[in-house]
C-alpha cells in the first residue's frame, strides 16, 4: 500500500541527516548548523502530522525495513522495522514538535549568546532527535533497546556540552552510568524475551505480548528458564525490562542522574525532559503494555515505584533554590505519575499525561531558559523577582505551563493527572486482594504529591516573576528575540488546550462524548489497542483488575482542591514584595530535603566507598598473589636470579637461539615420543 506512511523512514532520517551536516559542515554554515536542524526537524514534523492523519484514517504500518543480523538455520534473524500505530504516531508528533521548537529556541539561547562549538551542539541535537524517533517507531524490543542506548549517548554528549568546565562532564558521566545500570537489566530482559519467545516484535503474528498471552492461555508452550513457571518467568522478564525504564525515566532509586543533568544547556534539558530521554522509559512500558498487563506483580511494582517517586520527588522540589532544579524534580515526579497510571491499568491516562507533560514541561524549561538569558545565566530564584512586567510573553507562557503542572482546571495537566489518579482509585477499590491495596497506597502517595506540586510550582512562579526584583540583573534583565518568544507562545497555547482532547469528568458530567484520546488509542493494530489491554487486564490470565465503577467527578474535585491548597499556600507565603525562605522553618527536614534524602551520597558511596576499594584490593591481589605466583615459579625454576640477568642482557642472536632451541626440543620430543625416527 503506497501512501504517506511509506515516507515514515524519512521522519527518522531527516534529523540524522542534519546531524551529519552539522558535524561535517556546520562550521562553514551561517548559524553553525542550526538552520539544517530546524529544516530537518520541521520536515519531520510535517511528515509526522501527515502520518498522524493517515493513522487517523485507519492506516497502520508494521514493516520490516532492514535485517541487522541474519540468523543461519534455526537461529532467528534480528530485524529493524517500523511500527506506526496510534501510539507511535502521536509520539512522533510530540517529539518532532518539541524538537523543532527546541532548535528554534537554541538560536536565542546558544547562537545569540555567543557560544562556541555550535556545530557539535546541533549535531548532538540532530542525533538525539533521530535516535528518539527511531526508538519511537521501533517494531521490536531489540531495536528499541539499541536506540534507547543511542538516546543515552546523545544525552551524555549534550549534558557534557560545556566540557571545559568541571560540572558538566561529571553530570554527563553520571547520567550515562546510572542509566546504564538500568539498561543492564533491560538488556538481560531483551535477551530473555528472545530466548523465551524467539521473537521480540511488538506487533504482528509473532508479537511477544500476544505469544505470552497465548502461552498463559495454554495454547502453546514457550521456553521458561531456571525452573520457573510461565507467570513467574514473565514477571521476571517484565521486571528486567523495567530496569531500563526506571533508569531512563528517572524513577526511584535511579533518579539521581536527572537533577545533575541540569548542567547541560537549558534547551537540551527541555528536550531530555519533555520528549526524548526521560519520556523513552515510560513510552517503552506503554509500547509493550500488552505484556505488562499479564503480570499483576509487575503492575503492582510499577504503581508503587511511580506513586512513591511522584511524592518523593515533589517533596524535594519544595526547597530548591535554582529554577531548573525545581523543574528537574517536577519531571521526576510527573513521570512518577505516568508510571503510577501504567501500573494501575490506566494506559490511556498515562499516555495522555505523557502528551500533556511533553508540552507543558518543554514550555517550562524553555521559559526557564528565557529567564536564565534575562538573568545573565544566574539560575537562583532568590536573585529574581518582579520579572513579570519586564517579560510578559515569558510570564504568561510560563504561567500557563505552571497551571498545567500544578493541575489547575482547565489546563492540560489537570485532565491527565486527574485521570491517572481516578484510574488508581477506581482499580484500587475494585481489585481484590493485595494488588488493590497496593494501588490504593500508590493512589494515596500520588494524591499527597498533588499538594506539594501545587506548592512548589507556584513558589517558583512567585519567586521568579512576582514581588520586587531582588538583584541588579533582575531590575534590568537581558532582552531576547522572536526565536525565544515564538516557541514559548506555541507551547503556552498547547499547555492550555491539550487537555481538551480527553475530558473524562466533563463527559461524566454532561454525557457528551469528549474522550477523544480513548478513541484514538483504540484504533490501529488490534493487539495494541486500549480496549485490548483492558480486556487483558481484567481477564483471568492477566492481572485480574476490576474497576469499582465510581464516578470521576468527586476524585477530580479532591485533587483539584489539593492542588489549589498547595498553590494557595505558596500564594500566601511567596506572593509578597519581599519573600523570605519559609522552608527554613522545616529545620533539619529541610536539610534532608535539600540534600535529596542523601540519595546521591549513598550512590557515590557505593561507587567510591565499596566498588573502588574492592577493585584496588583486587589489583593488589592480582599484582601480589596471582602475578607473584607466576614470578615465583619462574624464579625458582629455570630463570633463577643471575641466570635471568644473563639471559636479559644477551644479544639478539641469543634470543633467536633460545627460540630455535625451544622449537627443536619440542619437535624432538614429539619425534621421540611418537617413535617417528625409528
Amino acid at each position: 500500500m503506497a501512501g504517506i506512511l511509506d515516507f515514515a523512514p524519512a521522519i527518522v532520517l531527516l534529523p540524522f541527516l542534519s546531524f551529519l551536516i552539522a558535524l561535517g559542515a556546520g562550521r562553514y554554515m551561517p548559524k553553525g548548523g542550526a538552520l539544517a536542524g530546524i529544516g530537518a526537524t520541521a520536515g519531520s514534523f510535517v511528515l509526522s502530522i501527515a502520518t498522524f492523519f493517515a493513522v487517523s484514517g485507519g492506516q497502520t504500518y508494521n514493516q520490516h525495513i532492514y535485517t541487522w543480523a541474519t540468523g543461519a538455520g534455526d537461529a532467528v534473524s534480528l530485524d529493524f522495522g517500523l511500527l506506526i500505530d496510534p501510539l507511535s504516531s502521536m509520539m512522533l508528533v510530540i517529539v518532532t514538535l518539541v524538537a523543532v521548537l527546541v532548535h528554534i529556541f537554541s538560536l536565542g539561547y546558544m547562537n545569540d549568546e555567543g557560544e562556541t562549538g555550535l556545530p557539535r551542539y546541533y549535531a548532538g541535537l540532530g542525533l538525539f532527535t533521530a535516535s528518539m524517533l527511531a526508538f519511537v517507531v521501533s517494531s521490536n524490543l531489540l531495536m528499541a533497546f539499541m536506540f534507547f542506548e543511542l538516546v543515552g549517548l546523545c544525552s551524555y554528549l549534550l549534558i557534557g556540552f560545556w566540557f571545559r568546565q568541571q560540572g558538566p562532564p561529571s553530570a554527563a558521566k553520571k547520567a550515562f552510568l546510572v542509566t546504564r545500570f538500568g539498561d543492564y537489566f533491560f538488556l538481560i530482559g531483551v535477551v530473555a524475551v528472545f530466548a523465551t519467545f524467539g521473537s521480540a516484535a511488538f506487533a504482528g503474528p509473532e508479537a511477544f505480548p500476544v505469544l505470552a498471552e497465548e502461552a498463559l492461555h495454554g495454547e502453546h508452550a514457550v521456553n521458561t528458564f531456571l525452573g520457573m513457571g510461565e507467570q513467574a518467568w514473565f514477571t521476571v522478564v517484565g521486571l528486567l525490562v523495567l530496569g531500563g525504564v526506571v533508569g531512563k525515566s528517572a524513577q526511584f532509586p535511579l533518579h539521581t542522574w536527572l537533577p545533575d543533568a541540569m548542567e547541560g544547556p537549558t534547551p537540551v534539558s527541555a528536550l531530555i525532559h519533555a520528549a526524548t530521554m526521560v519520556a523513552a522509559g515510560v513510552y517503552l512500558v506503554a509500547r509493550m503494555y500488552g505484556f505488562y498487563a499479564l503480570t499483576p506483580t509487575t503492575l503492582g511494582i510499577i504503581a508503587l515505584v511511580g506513586g512513591f517517586t511522584a511524592l518523593f520527588a515533589a517533596t524535594m522540589g519544595v526547597v530548591k533554590k535554582e529554577i531548573k532544579q525545581v523543574l528537574a524534580y517536577s519531571t521526576i515526579s510527573q513521570y512518577g505519575y505516568m508510571m503510577l497510571g501504567l501500573g494501575v491499568g490506566g494506559y490511556v491516562a498515562s499516555t495522555f499525561h505523557l502528551l500533556t507533560h511533553a508540552f507543558f514541561k518543554a514550555l517550562l524549561f524553555l521559559g526557564a531558559g528565557a529567564v536564565i538569558i534575562a538573568m545573565h545565566h544566574n539560575e537562583n530564584m532568590w536573585d529574581m523577582g518582579g520579572l513579570k512586567e519586564k517579560m510578559p510573553v515569558t510570564y504568561y507562557a510560563f504561567l500557563s505551563g505552571s497551571l498545567a503542572l500544578a493541575g489547575i482546571v482547565p489546563f492540560a495537566g489537570f485532565w491527565s493527572k486527574d485521570e491517572i489518579l481516578y484510574e488508581a482509585l477506581n482499580h484500587g477499590l475494585g481489585t481484590d486482594g493485595g494488588l488493590g491495596t497496593v494501588f490504593l497506597i500508590a493512589y494515596a502517595m500520588g494524591l499527597i504529591a498533588v499538594f506539594f506540586t501545587g506548592f512548589y510550582t507556584f513558589r517558583m512562579v512567585f519567586l521568579t516573576f512576582h514581588g520586587e526584583p531582588r538583584s541588579e540583573t533582575a531590575r534590568d534583565p537581558h532582552g531576547f528575540g522572536w526565536n525565544v518568544k515564538f516557541p514559548l507562545a506555541v507551547l503556552g497555547v498547547l499547555a492550555a488546550v491539550t487537555g481538551l482532547v480527553n475530558m473524562a469528568p466533563v463527559e461524566d458530567l454532561t454525557g457528551i462524548h469528549l474522550t477523544f484520546l480513548h478513541d484514538w488509542l483504540d484504533g490501529g493494530i488490534s493487539s495494541l489497542t486500549a480496549h485490548h489491554y483492558l480486556e487483558v487486564l481484567e481477564s483471568g490470565v492477566g492481572a485480574g483488575l476490576h474497576p469499582a465503577g465510581i464516578g470521576s467527578i468527586a476524585p477530580g474535585l479532591v485533587s483539584l482542591a489539593l492542588a489549589l491548597a498547595g498553590a494557595g499556600l505558596a500564594y500566601r507565603l511567596y506572593n509578597v514584595p519581599e519573600p523570605v525562605e519559609h522552608t527554613d522553618k522545616l529545620g533539619s527536614i529541610k536539610t534532608v530535603l535539600y540534600n535529596n534524602y542523601y540519595q546521591d551520597e549513598y550512590q557515590v558511596w557505593i561507587a567510591t566507598g565499596v566498588v573502588q576499594p574492592i577493585s584496588r584490593a583486587l589489583d593488589k591481589f592480582d599484582q601480589g598473589i596471582v602475578d607473584g605466583v607466576v614470578n615465583g615459579v619462574s624464579s625458582v625454576s629455570l630463570f633463577a636470579g643471575g641466570r635471568v640477568k644473563r639471559i636479559q642482557t644477551g644479544v639478539v642472536s641469543n634470543y633467536a637461539a633460545l627460540l630455535t632451541l625451544g622449537l627443536t626440543a619440542l619437535l624432538l620430543g614429539l619425534g621421540l615420543l611418537g617413535g617417528w625416527f625409528a
Binding site: A72, G73, R164, L226, V611, L666, G674, A678
Partner: protein
Amino acid sequence: MIIEALIAVTFLAALVTFVLPDRYAGKAAFALSLAPVVGSLYMWQQYDASGNALLGGNIAFETDVVWLQLGQYDIHWMVGVDGISMPLVVLTTILTTLAIVSAWTPISERQSQFFGLMLLMEANLLGVFTALDFFVWFIFWEAVLLPMYFLIGVWGGPRRKYAAIKFFVYTNIASLVMFIGFVSLVFGLGDSITSLRLPEIAQALQAGQLGSFAGLSAGALASVAFIAMFIGFAVKVPVAPLHTWLPDAHVEAPTPVSVMLAGVLLKMGTYALLRFNFTMLPETARAFALPIALLAVASVIYGALLALAQQDLKRIVAYSSVSSMGYVILGLIAYTTYGVGGATFQMVAHGLISGLMFMAVGVIYNTTHTRMVGDMSGIADRMPVTAGIFVAGAFGYMGLPLMAGFAAEFFIFKGAFESTVMEAMPLFTGAAMFGIVIVAGYLLFAMQRTLFGPFRFDGDYDITEAPFHDVAPLAVLLLLTIVLGVSPDIFFTMIQDAVTPILELGGAF
C-alpha cells in the same frame, strides 16, 4: 595459491623493509603492507567456502600437498580458509597496516628493523589463521612470538626486558602444555590418522577413533588433552588467572605493538580454542561447561574490576581486554549459533576496537609523553579531533549499539542465555553481562578526568592536535567499527556458516 602468495608477499615485504634505510622504512612498510590488505580483501570478495574447514566443509583457497615425512605421518602443506578464519585474515592485514602508520610518530630509531618485524609478524599471523596442518600451524604459531618478543624487548618502555621475557616464557610454556595435550590426542588416535592435518584429526575424533593411551581410557585422555590445550590457549587469550603477562607486556610495548598484541595476537588464543578444544572435543567441552563458564564470568568481572583500579590509560585498556575476551569464552561454551558465532565476531570486533583504543591512548601519549590519568585534564580543549574519536571509540568499547562491539556482545549474550549446555546458563550470562556496567564506569571516569574539565597539563610539552597520519588510522578503525556494527552480516553470515557444523556435533565417546 593465493594464500601462499599472501604469506610470501608479506615475508618479502618484511625482508625488503629490513634492508631499507631507516628513514624510508616506515613509509615503505606502509606501502608494502597494502599488498596483503588488497590480497585479503580480494580473498574475501572471491570467498566461496561453506561449512567448517575441519568438519568436511568446502574450504576456500585450499592447498593440500604432502610436504615431508615424519615417522608414520605425512606432513602436509595444507592451508585454506573458512568462515571462521576469513574475517581474522582480513582483520590481520588491515590492523597491521594501520599499526604501521601509527608507528610513524613514536618509533624514531632502528625503524627498518621495527617495521620489518611488524611485517614478519603479520606473515606469521596469516600463517596461523590459514594453516590447516598441525605441524605448519605450530611453526607459524611459535614464529609469531619471535618478532613480538623483539618488538617489546627492543622498542619498549623502561621495563621492556622483564615484560618481553615474561611474555615469551609464559606463552612458550603454555605452548608446551598445549603441545603435550595435542600430541597425546594424536597418539590416542593411533593408526586411524596418517597425517597431522587438522580436518583429518577432527574427523577421526568425531568418528570415535580415539583409543586409550598411556593408561588413560579414551574419555580420560580426551579430558586430559582438553585441559592441557585449554590451559595452553588460555594463557594466550588470556583467561584469568593466567593473564598477568598481558598488562606488563602492554604497558612496556610501544603503541603499535600493543595494537597488534591486543588486536590480533590475543585472537590466536581464542581462535585456537575454537578450532581445537571446541571443535575437536565438543563432548568434553560440554562436560566442562561449568568450570569454563565460571572462568569466563571471572575473566569478565575480574578484568573489569582490575581495569577500574588502574591509573595508567594503557593498563586500563589492557585489563579491559581480559574482560572482553571473557565474553568470547562465554560465547564459545554456549554451543549455540549466536554464542559461538558471536564469540568469533567478537574476535574481529574487539580487534578493531581495542586497536582503536590503544592507538588513541598512543596518540595522546605521543603529545603528552604520559599516560597517567592524574597528569592531565581537559585534553579535549587542545586535541579536539583525537578526543572526539577517543570518546567514540570508548563508547564502542562500552558496547554502544550500531558499533561492532555491541553486535558481538549481544550475539554472545543471546547465544549464552538460550544455551542448553547447562541449566544455569542464564545466571552466568546475567553475571557476565554486568561487565557492561563496569566498563562504562572505568572508561567514563578516565575520559572525564583526562579529556574533559579545565585544561591542565603538568609536563613541559606543547599540547596541540596530533598530525594527520596519527589520527587517520583511528578514523579508519572507527569507520570500520561502525560499518560492522550497522551491518554485522558482512562477517556474521560466513561465520555462522562455519560455526553451525560445530553445533551439530554429537558425542563420540
